[in-house]
């Protein structure tokens, strides 16, 4: 039995999340050049549990991606991530990762007491056209099988030439990874942290509040391997949810960038007038505003789509365009500040990095378009 979410609940919960961002998240990330400390992030996560932004338990409750197959939860989650992303993209991404991990854990019937990360990202790209073919149930060629073998972790086989990566704040205890077994059958593997070789790779491009982890199985069997009919649709749903989240967080970040740039433009004077009166600056601010309005409409429409395998192509198609727009607009916002925008203290460069980082995870625009080209083919 899932927790019911009524239409009236959504604005109330979003308002509560806004207050949480203002009171609890905002003060911790006031100085963009300083990264939140691990202990502070843990306490913030606990507060997020308390207000129902994340559901930490195994029992139904409220939180991001609580029951995304039911109407309303995606709208709530997407709106909430956009709101938290407006305050800090890395923290929004962290909350999303916790919630996505819990969603996958519950669907797989895995112990929810251990904080799990669902590593939906394959080794590289989206296996060209092959992941789309697998997910839409097309016949697979030998080339498809070979690409999928290199895209997924294949249990019992040696690591390939590219390392496996995922992005998460520390504190996770288990990893839920889409895998192929020795026979090539798709399923979800659950690894305890101690069951895998894992190396933190600090100083990644953006999302400073999290870390890029390199990992590989130690060669032993996972704690649990769940295959069968529901495994692949669950992967499609996880990809769908993840794509929605990345767009929502990036949009929130851009809203913040726009606000900072517009504020600066209204104060800074050049040639005797505020720069907000100069056409060059107005153009850049207008491109930001136009992108925000466009992507907000897209995000709103996406969040009304049912989380099903069938809708994955639509979500990926939107994401392919949205991230390019969002990154370009974030660059515009930073440019408004001139030299100050390049300083880490101003926070704009961080938003540019965060938007770039989100663009590259789980399928870059090029890779998403390849997926879409296959998806759209009858």
């Amino acid at each position: 039995m899932e927790t019911e979410l009524t239409e009236d609940d959504i604005p109330l919960m979003l308002a509560e999340i806004r207050r949480f961002c203002q009171k609890s998240v905002g003060p911790l990330v006031e100085r963009p050049e300083r990264t939140i400390e691990a202990g502070q992030l843990v306490r913030l996560t606990e507060q997020a549990w308390e207000i129902g932004l994340i559901n930490p338990g195994v029992e139904p409750g409220t939180g991001l991606w609580e029951d995304p197959e039911c109407d309303g939860w995606v709208r709530l989650s997407s709106g909430a991530l956009c709101g938290v992303g407006r305050t800090n993209a890395g923290i929004a991404f962290h909350f999303h990762q916790l919630a996505l991990g819990r969603y996958v854990s519950r669907r797989l019937g895995i112990d929810g007491d251990r904080q799990g990360i669902a590593c939906v990202q394959g080794v590289y790209g989206l296996a060209r056209y092959s992941l789309a073919r697998l997910l839409k149930g097309a016949d697979l060629s030998d080339e498809d099988r070979a690409l999928l073998h290199d895209y997924f972790v294949t249990l019992g086989s040696e690591a390939e030439n590219l390392p496996l990566l995922f992005q998460a704040a520390d504190g996770w205890q288990q990893l839920l990874a889409p895998c192929l077994d020795e026979k090539g059958e798709f399923g979800w593997a659950a690894f305890g942290r101690e069951d895998i070789e894992v190396v933190p790779l600090p100083d990644s491009h953006g999302l400073d509040e999290t870390v890029t982890w390199q990992w590989q199985p130690r060669g032993e069997s996972p704690r649990q391997f769940t295959a069968g009919e529901s495994a692949l649709p669950l992967y499609a749903k996880a990809l769908h949810i993840n794509a929605q989240a990345l767009v929502a967080i990036a949009l929130g970040s851009l809203e913040s960038a726009y606000e900072k740039a517009a504020e600066y433009a209204g104060l800074r004077k050049q040639a005797g007038k505020t720069i907000s009166r100069h056409a060059a600056v107005r153009q850049m601010l207008a491109r930001c505003a136009s992108t925000i309005r466009t992507v907000e409409l897209l995000r709103g429409q996406l969040s009304r789509l049912a989380v099903t395998t069938n809708n994955l192509g639509t979500v990926f198609a939107v994401r392919a365009q949205a991230h390019n727009l969002l990154c370009a607009a974030a660059n515009d916002a930073m440019q408004v500040l001139g030299g100050s925008g390049y300083s880490r203290d101003a926070g704009l460069e961080k938003i540019v990095r965060d938007c770039n980082h989100l663009r590259l995870l789980c399928g870059t625009p090029d890779e998403l378009l390849m997926f879409v080209s296959e998806w759209e083919e009858n």
Partner: protein
């Protein structure tokens, strides 16, 4: 062809040995035709170098050798731990010994070949800077910003200034003790105002020179001064007391002068190995003989120096883009999917071709404009805008090719992006530079207007 075997072709292409390959087919041409229609199996870097005049080609080769040996290995370290004095000292000493700091200037002013005198200074500067920044944008800036600092001294056209300040600095550097200059114009809240005329005509200068016995007392603050934290001398621009920016004058201020301090270095997104200093001047005494180019000529020196430095900024952007492209090409040749390297995939080849085309177009534009004996503001600004915008596109393509692996610091391309982003900002934002293009052609537009 399996892994480990010798490959004869990329997927989707005929092998060079195939009779239908132009490499083979063109052999039918007579010698006269082969003079202009032949196949160059060499990489674009070698082809472009061969197309340069000898002294410039040599400068390019020498700079690359230095940059690959000294800068690239320190690139990630300089990004993560900038302003480490020991590393800076080591890099500068090696650069001094290798003749990099004054290498674009012919002897005796610089350490470059005398034959460089036959070519515009701009061309040599852009050739050098591209190679430094292809290895590392941060270290490249550290070694290049010095040329901008020195620019007002050269542009002053005053032989006494050259003999008194530039030639000794070069000698000291050649002796292994690097001497660096920096250029200080930007003031708090007035970045763009000092980079174009219209804004300047309405702004109030913040750094003021008061007359004193035998010289001037400078007071004020300068921001975002590249290399200002380590420079031995800084060309500081200040207005004369009681006058506006039309009185701007260039003063040469030496490190260690009482009242002259580096307050802080900015925390930057990229190009971190080079400091962007905030300089404070509190009654800094500058003797009359360190006024460069004459009183009230500072505005002209400033504008001319910026014009001369915008093409090198375009070359910085090009170098960073080249570095990003080289990194991405290494990646797509090294990593495999389904047993085939990424470069075998047509979508990857399309991206790489775009990057080669984009960097080639940048270099063509820079070299073609820099080869002209007279540098104009419009040419310099056009190059700066086009190349810095294009550089960002190339870096984005490199990140796209590395995909989720592009976020890793150790894979370089994310640093290339951060480094490239600054080239759209410094030496006047790209917006200011676009207006500089229009300013240069003002008479043309006015003539059309007046004909109506």
């Amino acid at each position: 062809m399996g892994q480990g075997s010798t490959r004869e072709t990329l997927a989707g292409h005929l092998p060079p040995t195939h009779p239908l390959s132009p490499r083979q087919a063109f052999r039918c041409f007579p010698p006269l035709t082969s003079e202009f229609m032949t196949y160059e199996p060499r990489w674009i870097w070698e082809q472009d170098t061969a197309a340069l005049p000898g002294p410039l080609a040599e400068l390019r080769r020498q700079t690359r050798a230095f940059a690959e040996q000294e800068l690239r290995p320190r690139s990630l370290e300089g990004d993560l731990r900038p302003h480490d004095r020991d590393t800076e000292t080591a890099v500068l000493k090696r650069a001094a010994e290798a003749g990099v700091l004054f290498g674009h200037l012919p002897q005796p002013v610089g350490s470059g070949e005398t034959a460089l005198m036959d070519y515009p200074l701009q061309w040599a500067a852009t050739v050098k800077v591209e190679e430094l920044c292809a290895a590392c944008g941060g270290w490249g800036l550290l070694l290049s910003a010095h040329a901008l600092g020195m620019m007002p001294l050269l542009i002053s056209g005053d032989k006494k200034v050259l003999k008194r300040f530039v030639i000794p600095a070069n000698r000291r550097t050649q002796a292994g003790e690097p001497y660096l200059f920096a250029f200080a114009i930007t003031e708090p809240g007035a970045g763009s105002d000092v980079e174009e005329g219209y804004g300047a005509s309405l702004c109030k200068p913040g750094t003021i020179a008061k007359q004193a016995e035998g010289g001037w007392l400078l007071g004020g603050r300068k921001l975002f001064i590249s290399g200002g934290d380590i420079a031995d001398a800084v060309t500081v621009f200040a207005a004369l007391e009681g006058e506006g920016i039309e009185s701007w004058t260039c003063f040469l201020v030496e490190k260690g002068t009482p009242g002259f301090t580096c307050v802080r270095n900015e925390l930057k997104m990229g190009q971190r190995a080079s400091g962007a200093a905030e300089l404070e001047l509190k009654d800094v005494f500058v003797p009359d003989d360190r006024v460069i180019g004459g009183l009230r000529n500072g505005w002209a020196l400033n504008r001319a120096s910026l014009t001369c430095s915008r093409m090198p900024v375009a070359a910085i952007a090009l170098g960073i883009a080249q570095g990003a492209m080289d990194t991405a090409i290494d990646f797509v040749c090294r990593f495999r999917m389904a047993g085939r390297p990424l470069i075998d995939r047509q979508e990857v080849q399309l991206r790489v071709a775009d990057m080669i085309g984009e960097t080639g177009a940048m270099r063509s534009m820079i070299w073609q404009r820099a080869a002209r004996p007279v540098v104009t503001q419009a040419n310099a600004s056009m190059c700066k805008v086009r190349c810095s915008d294009a550089a960002l596109r190339v870096c984005e393509s490199a990140m796209e090719l590395l995909g989720n692996h592009g976020v890793l610091h150790r894979n370089y391309v994310e640093k290339h992006f951060r480094d490239a982003r600054l080239t759209q900002i410094y030496e006047g934002t790209n917006q200011i530079n676009r207006l500089a293009v229009i300013e240069d052609f003002q008479e043309v537009f006015l003539e059309k207007l007046n004909q109506q």
